[in-house]
């Protein structure tokens, strides 16, 4: 009998290892033979550790299961899928899961992430098989036609980037995966790498075929040690089965892939800074042009994309561009794995086609706030995304719709705050974060962020507030138009949105909690 207990870091953080050990011990004590599989997370994170039992091919869910609950579950007959207070019935019938459109995350939580056999049994490497029979330009054309845009945050069309690399002259080209997922409120890259690392490897291999690159790197943040283990195991398994390395599946094509660890620098999620870091330097932003597609890693043409972008490619090659393109709205095609985070009752991963509104995802999926209090503000798109008040909750999740309200979808992180939030403190924190993480190369970001903290402090203290607000807005304009990259350029988003939508928070007298809310 198969029992699944996730090895996803979020599950481990709430005791999944203890749960797994206790299940093994209890099964042994009762002489019940079980096959314990450490899967990825299904993404229903508030139910972690989510234990699933395979009952005649149906996965039955129980959660959250702590070690102390295990004996009771055995007593209740959970190995036969029988009812228990922690039971939720069939996992794929839980509304949160059932309503999703899982394309990129199709296998995450379902399969054993360490098993290539399992990956192949669930449709893995069909995209690569298709790509091996195609010319590079045709692969690029397929990705372009799918409408896939970079999922890291900037939403640049992936096919156009790949076409530039394919057309760039050079004997050595690289494929680099940006797995430096530093945005607060986001964890889809982590979940994917831990739950289905092969799909990322397959996507990168297809990118290599499409652009005639032969070496690849996954630049992974140190904060994700479980993802490192999962990726390294998957790379070894893929290489052993000739899906990586020399002469892939007898095609004569080669691709070597390696994981490199970051060392705690938010800025290294910016692509040129990441490339500097991979080269062994300080992660300082480069001037563009030249684009990385022309002169990237070690000065060579380089495809650099986010984890989810690469991981979305296999299904496009397998099912066809039209299949993927059919999902979504406007110029936002396909699906986006949204991440519900912060003060939210049902936090987790929700992969859906573009177009659902923020309100629907917050309440129909998220179930409202974790604290039970009204949701007052929502930050979408990470620490550089805007804070949205309730009046904007009907905005559809679409790149252009968010741009129109001076926000951004970014990497799909949604962080909810209840009415206890102090928006002036959030604005101050945005400037403080920029000051801590600035690479220091350009002045608006390096100096402006520190000046920003000071101005907000004076504004909150009520020292000639009208003047401070003018200075703050002026400073934000300098950051927006004068910074070299998105860190300085977008820090004004959370600051100005907080100021515009929640001005009352900035005019109160000095409060005790003006540090970092």
């Amino acid at each position: 009998m198969k029992i699944y207990v996730p090895r996803d870091a979020a599950a481990l953080g709430v005791g999944a290892d203890d749960t797994a050990q206790t299940i093994l011990a209890e099964a042994k004590r009762r002489a019940i033979p079980i096959d314990l599989i450490r899967n990825g997370s299904r993404g229903l994170l508030w139910l972690e550790p989510l234990v699933e039992v395979d009952v005649a091919g149906t996965r039955v869910a129980y959660g959250p299961v702590q070690s102390r609950d295990v004996a009771g579950l055995f007593d209740a007959g959970f190995t036969a899928g029988l009812p228990h207070a922690l039971g939720h019935g069939a996992t794929d019938q839980i509304p949160y899961f059932k309503k999703q459109e899982r394309l990129t995350f199709a296998r995450v939580g379902l399969t054993d992430p360490r098993s290539l056999t399992d990956y192949l049994a669930h449709g893995g490497y069909r995209g690569l098989t298709a790509a091996l029979a195609m010319k590079p330009a045709d692969i690029v054309a397929g990705v372009t036609a799918s409408g896939l845009r970079g999922r890291g945050g900037a939403a640049f069309p992936a096919g156009i980037k790949w076409k530039t690399v394919l057309g760039a002259p050079g004997a050595q080209k690289y494929v680099v995966c940006n797995a430096d997922e530093g945005d607060s409120g986001t964890f889809s890259d982590r979940m994917l790498m831990e739950g289905d690392p092969f799909v990322l490897i397959e996507g990168m291999t297809i990118a290599a075929l499409a652009t005639e690159a032969t070496r690849g790197y996954i630049y992974l943040r140190w904060e994700y040690p479980q993802a490192k283990l999962a990726l390294e195991a998957a790379i070894a398994a893929a290489a052993a089965a000739h899906y990586l390395g020399q002469n892939i599946q007898g095609s004569g094509k080669s691709f070597e892939l390696e994981v490199r660890m970051g060392a705690g620098a938010y800025i290294c999620g910016e692509e040129t800074s990441l490339l500097e870091s991979l080269e062994g330097k300080r992660g300082q932003v480069r001037f563009k042009p030249p684009l990385p597609a022309i002169q990237g890693l070690f000065g060579k043409p380089t495809v650099i994309n986010n984890v989810i972008t690469f991981a979305s490619v296999p299904i496009i090659l397998d099912r066809g561009a039209a299949y993927y393109q059919h999902f979504g709205m406007g110029r936002s095609r396909g699906t986006l794995p949204m991440q519900l985070a912060g003060n939210i009752k049902h936090g987790g991963l929700v992969e859906i086609a573009f177009g659902m509104t923020l309100r629907e995802i917050l309440y129909e999926y998220g179930g409202g706030s974790f604290s039970g209090r009204p949701i007052r503000a929502v930050q979408v798109g990470g620490p550089l995304g805007a804070y949205h008040p309730e009046s904007q909750f009907d905005t559809p999740l679409d790149y252009e719709a968010f741009a129109a309200i001076k926000g951004m979808l970014g990497h799909g992180g949604i962080v909810a705050f209840d009415d206890g939030v102090d928006m002036a403190a959030q604005a101050r924190y945005a400037m403080e974060f920029c000051a801590i993480e600035s690479c220091g190369k350009c002045t608006p970001c390096r100096i402006g962020s520190t000046r920003g903290v000071e101005v907000i402090d004076r504004l909150i203290a009520g020292e000639n507030p009208a003047k401070q607000e003018t200075i703050l807005r002026d400073l934000c304009e300098t950051l927006t138009y004068g910074s070299l990259c998105a860190l300085g350029g977008l820090t004004p988003y959370p600051v100005i949105s907080a100021l515009n939508h929640f001005p009352q928070d900035f005019v109160k007298p000095v409060r005790a909690s003006s540090a970092s809310g």
Binding site: A263, G264, L278, R282, G342, N343, E437
Partner: protein
């Protein structure tokens, strides 16, 4: 450390992998190591120092036996991480980058651990913990102090 250099120095962009190896082995990158690494990689001491000091993860001083990273980012803030942070500092009697007087714990800030649906979060060495209440924090710190 010279072993790490010898093993890794032929890698393209070898400096970060070497620094990671040193950090993993010694728990910090000693000042004395910088000129040695520089010589092995044919870089200037300034270049190596510049890299060591750029990245938050590489420590230049010996930390406590356990390294505790407390998440300060927005998703954890939404779940009360500021209160947890105040509790942690008061309880341990140190600020960020400080080490407790018994040499057991070094407290550091981190900006997102990717556990944003189950915050507040912290990481002890490479072990993630979610839904950390002040009580749970105290229990975890007791475990840290008891471990060798």
């Amino acid at each position: 450390m010279l072993d790490a250099c010898a093993r890794l120095k032929e890698l393209p962009g070898a400096l970060l992998p070497i620094l990671h190896a040193v950090q993993e082995t010694l728990n910090f990158v000693p000042k004395d190591a910088v000129p040695l690494i520089a010589r092995e990689l044919n870089l200037s001491v300034a270049e190596v120092h510049g890299v060591v000091s750029f990245y938050h993860y590489f420590l230049q001083e010996r930390p406590g036996r356990k390294r505790v990273h407390l998440c300060r980012a927005e998703a954890c803030q939404a779940l009360g991480s500021a209160a947890l942070e105040a509790h942690a500092k008061a309880k341990l009697g140190i600020d960020y980058h400080g080490t407790t007087s018994d040499g057991a714990i070094t407290l550091e800030a981190v900006y997102c651990l990717g556990n944003c649906a189950l915050g507040p979060s912290l990481m002890i060495d490479h072990q993630l913990h979610g839904r950390v209440t002040p009580e749970r924090f105290d229990a975890l710190m007791t475990q840290c102090r008891e471990s060798p």
